[in-house]
Assembly symmetry: none
Homo-oligomer: 202 residues x 2
């Protein structure tokens, strides 16, 4: 986590490189932030380099760069062939421009985790008991998204989310045998939103 002035320094560097296609001098950063000592700026710059937000070529004039993003190629990538669409019609209709799916790309991402589903409250959304759901951590959701919500710090459930804009929220099960539940907003804390689902039949 960056302090205020570290953040300022980072913002300045990004803007500068954007405009000039080269890194700023320490003294330019200092002037830009209203700091008189380049030693101070150098301290911030080193912190940013440490956090790998920038790259620093030691000693070099204007040796501040944005990090070179080298795409890492995974040798044994979890890639499976995607043959086509299945339904009535031709035996199997090919899908143009997509002939494989990378499972990692499909499901994985920062802040994501899995939960096993218990109960039938989301059955009409195609989420069955013992399915695995992929959740991305966050604290807010848009209306209509399916979320993991913690009510009163006690009960975690998977439900469709609706903010009623009057200090209450509604958690909607996708099962016509169950009723939507209305809670005061402060009782409901969002743990994450649903981004994927998977099921094994073995």
């Amino acid at each position: 986590m960056l302090s205020r002035r570290e953040q300022d320094t980072y913002d300045f560097i990004c803007n500068y490189i954007n405009e000039h296609q080269q890194g700023p001098l320490l003294e330019e950063i200092a002037a830009g932030l209203g700091i008189k000592s380049k030693g101070v700026v150098h301290r911030y710059v080193k912190t940013l380099a440490n956090a790998e937000l920038i790259e620093l070529i030691s000693g070099r004039h204007r040796g501040i760069q944005l990090p070179s993003s080298e795409p890492v190629i995974d040798e044994n990538a979890p890639v499976m062939p995607l043959l086509g669409r299945i339904a009535a019609g031709m035996p199997i209709e090919a899908i143009p421009d997509q002939n494989e799916i990378n499972l990692a790309d499909f499901f994985m991402g920062p802040g994501r985790f899995l939960l096993k589903v218990q109960g039938e409250s989301m059955i009409e959304a195609g989420i069955l008991p013992d399915d695995i759901v992929v959740i991305e951590s966050c604290v807010t959701a848009r209306n209509g998204e399916i979320i993991v919500a913690l009510v009163d710090q006690q009960d975690a459930t998977l439900k469709r989310f609706k903010n009623n804009q009057d200090g209450t929220v509604t958690l909607i099960p996708e099962n016509h045998e169950m009723q939507p539940m209305i809670f005061e907003s402060h009782r409901v804390h969002i743990q994450g939103v649903l981004v994927g689902q998977m099921r094994s039949y073995c």
Copy 2:
């Protein structure tokens, strides 16, 4: 269970981080709750950290964070943390002896491929349009399995399989608006059986 003011503090922190993308100062919380002493606020904050509702970077200014979804994900290995079961009950019930799922193990195997689902014929089995299904190639199936069947070398469909033992088979859609179809066995060729299913909400 949290006391009233602890709950207030937690709500304030969540809202603050939501709006500002950074943690609040103790004095900002104090002002927000109408408390004059930052010592008091610090006591509440420590309780929340203790309950692991927030994370506290000791000493740091604005060092209040929402809990980092701890399990750090290695982008290169198709392994994701499996946190537990979700439903009513405890916040999240841990699953003993299984805390991660390897996507490759979960889905991949020799002779397996993917198909994208078109149509709603299997909707009551939790298989929706645009879902991806994992199929394992084979030429026979047991009753009750969901298979990819090719009828008259022309029409490939995903249906539940039943061998009637009288020279006919029944292909059963999981949608009460559609009718099961009976074919003479020689007209139906099994392409593979359903072993997995996945869906992305992004």
